[in-house]
Subunit: 289 residues, 4 copies
């Protein structure tokens, strides 16, 4: 959801081992810092001995003068209570790079939601192994870098991309990029690369899911947005959805129908990531949507 933007809004994500009183501790801390809780979400894998997750949106009076202090004090609190945490504010907009190949549907959906301010993000660059979408992307005032991908020189291509990204980008969206990233590349953006896979994973892991869906005769096709890890198509799932099909659909029809699911699923996942609504826990995600 996207209500009117409140630039005094901050978001705090916390993960820690379950312990009594953790909610009190954190909400007391926020109260002392004159933070007004706007939204609070919580999850525990097991109230006895599990892992605890919390997401708090809060308003700060006098944001500019008090945010820094709150952040400093949070360091201390986190040490005392063994909290993993991230704190972000609406003032610091996330910076998203989009990687594409030739297909434009996922890219255009992201750009449309960005232009209409549904997804509030900066897009410092689009990177592609093809030149096809250069004109349309630049038409939106977004820099487009064409880095050809030659199989034997994949490392060089990735290196070039990393140099472009360095210090300019917080996370990456693979909007039907169709290339497998190396472990080295992935390690630079842990849980910060979102991919859209064109099946309801774990069905049809790997290549050509639509052809395989057609051959298997499924009655639903799907799409899955997930964080990229070194295990291909095995990363934490952020969002999935499906679309009903029938015997009349050819493999090509599945592909066309699937594009709409992909657009929707990827855009949702990106929007949640941007709003700090996703916490990765092992190979799963907690999504406070």
């Amino acid at each position: 959801m996207n209500t009117t933007v409140n630039h005094n809004l901050a978001k705090l994500l916390i993960s820690c081992p379950e312990k009594p009183g953790i909610i009190s501790t954190v909400t007391n801390f926020l109260l002392e810092h004159k933070a007004n809780i706007v939204h609070f979400d919580q999850h525990t894998t097991d109230p006895q001995a599990g892992k605890f997750f919390m997401r708090i949106e809060f308003d700060l009076e006098d944001f500019d003068s008090s945010f820094e202090k709150l952040e400093q004090d949070l360091h201390v609190l986190a040490q005392n209570y063994a909290l993993d945490w991230t704190l972000s504010s609406k003032k610091q907009m996330k910076r998203m790079a989009i990687f594409v190949s030739k297909a434009d549907h996922a890219l255009m959906e992201l750009i449309w939601r960005w232009k209409s301010k549904e997804i509030e993000v900066e897009i410092p660059m689009v990177i592609s192994n093809h030149a096809d979408l250069k004109e349309v992307v630049e038409g939106y005032g977004i820099p487009y870098y064409h880095i050809p991908m030659i199989k034997e020189k994949k490392e060089d291509a990735e290196q070039k991309a990393l140099e472009l990204l360095e210090g300019k980008v917080d996370f990456i969206v693979l909007a039907r990029y169709m290339q497998i990233l190396s472990p080295n590349f992935i390690s630079k953006f842990p849980n910060q690369i979102i991919n859209i896979h064109h099946s309801f994973l774990p069905a049809f892991v790997g290549a050509n899911p639509y052809v395989r869906a057609f051959n298997r005769g499924v009655k639903l096709i799907g799409a899955t947005a997930h964080y990229v890890t070194n295990d291909l198509d095995e990363g934490p799932i952020i969002e999935q959805d499906v679309q009903r099909i029938n015997h009349r659909y050819t493999a090509e029809d599945l592909k066309i129908a699937g594009r709409h699911v992909e657009r929707r699923v990827l855009a949702e996942a990106v929007s949640w990531h941007v709003e700090d609504k996703v916490i990765v826990h092992g190979n799963k995600t907690i999504v406070f949507a």
Copy 2:
């Protein structure tokens, strides 16, 4: 959701005007009473000057000895902070009366979910203006009362029902009861009567929604579970869902297809009511599902 039952579990619902520190106040209170928060949900209509809603599930060590004390202290807290609240525990199972007419689908769905322990509730009685379902209901060991409904003697019939319900029932489900309850009757169970309407309200308010849906040529039919108020079909909506149909469906087909939506929607709504997940706010509901 229905995890393994924990009989030391209690549920606290709170509504109050938005004020700073309310989460701290309540969670501190629970911590002092050695309550371990298992699940926490919160909503505010407006962080500045709106209404605040909170639902907390918590475990109590030494439940039997400490629950009463907690309840007493809560009275004091509530007065100090102007909180509306309800506190319930898994030990006190809610008691549900079901009102039916001749159709059995909504009734059977509730009974099946009750038998399979998906909905943890007691069913002290089924009341009907017809005798048709007596045998099947009694087959499940549930008392069945047939109170014929004569138009001129509606008041008497309602009086008889009220006598049967008196002290034995916490809430009522109209599982396709097809009778309009009087304001007097409704006033005895405020926000404790759930009805299933066979359309996606507010479309097709009133009688014969399926015939009217057929005549209008809609492409989706729906069902709506709502709390009963004196304004017919205007009470707070708890849950809605729809089913896709097409030009091949006759009005009779719509009715048949609709039954499945009705079953699902009503069962969901009842299950949330039983789990204290629904808070009525004016003519709407907050559902912490």
Copy 3:
């Protein structure tokens, strides 16, 4: 569905009173004309005395030389059997005008599906009462006409639009046009104007459906694509869909969430209209999708 385009493909729609042998008659006719049936759909409102509807896609060998003859003979057949019919071919692409106001979401979805050839149509013009979207539309090489709408001079504005459309356009899509067309205007395009209404009609007929949906506390919001008639929001429904929402959504959030349903529903309806899959029957539609 959109398989590879076959330009020898023709589509025949027939409506007539139900009579025995009508399928034989028409399929024999096609066989005699060396037409190969690729897809056949049929519907009858009542096999005894109802109305019969049929849609046939067929291939023609030697399309260019034989299509005209088939069309001529069809005139004769239709007279003998009292058939209402339309015949179209992939060679004659439909021409669609889009009317917009300021919102771009429905427009952009149509343009994207047109560019990606999901909807095979010509777009000779976009007409708007505002200048806002001129640049983006012209960027796609589509002429954009800004016809300001002054309340007292609505007739003049419509007249101007009619002159632009004259002979250039087969059907019109109101992609959130926000103006009510006069009976005179509508009469020029009977069952050829498609509107997208932002609710699951017949709920929230009229203005501000999202605000009213918010106030009523519904759990689903929807959108409805329908043909425009003189009865506002009462024309034959082509397609509807819904999206689940919850108590967290503000009226503004509903509007944003609803945009995606509107895009999807309108694009489906337009695509079916273009593929001659929709037959209007009284105030309803038969959709052979």
Copy 4:
């Protein structure tokens, strides 16, 4: 869909290699036999050289005297045109055996739809490897046979079942039977055994799909109804559906939520099978629903 039952209704299913004029040939044949087509569905895998499928519902005047003649003449027609066909009539109700283990949800859904005449079928018997559901099944007047399944004596158990089924049953529904049938058993009922698998196949093929879905962190769980073949979980899919879940669901919650999808998906598949709406084509199905 289930309109009022018309006992003069017959259903003809035809598969054959695509050839010009096949629709004319068959509809002419029916016209000559004074059959009035009520509903007609058709599919071709490729209009040039594919396989052609057709389903026709028709009324017969003077059903009793003319059905037999029509059936005889169909034999001749089929030989001349190399048609595979089945002909059935509403007068010959299909006979369905249900195999269960201990879980009752899929069984009860089938029984409820049978009692309410949504699925028009005879149920000559329920067979189970456990005695648990004996009482409830017999309460509906349906014979219940308990055939214990001892791993080493599986063949004997199957033999006993086959003897019970012999001549009494047209098709079998595995309503969460949890046993793998032998190739010998399956060969007696080719494409006449329907199973419900508790995942959106081909994801989570094999045992414990809910636990594996939980471990994989999927956001949708599903169920799949398919015909049983010798390749476990690989038979032709009839119907699939999914349900949205989230991080709050335990593996046990998934199982509970999944039951409702299973009920719905299995009941749909069975109803289509009963209505002769499913044609198996290789490892897929054509469903004229």
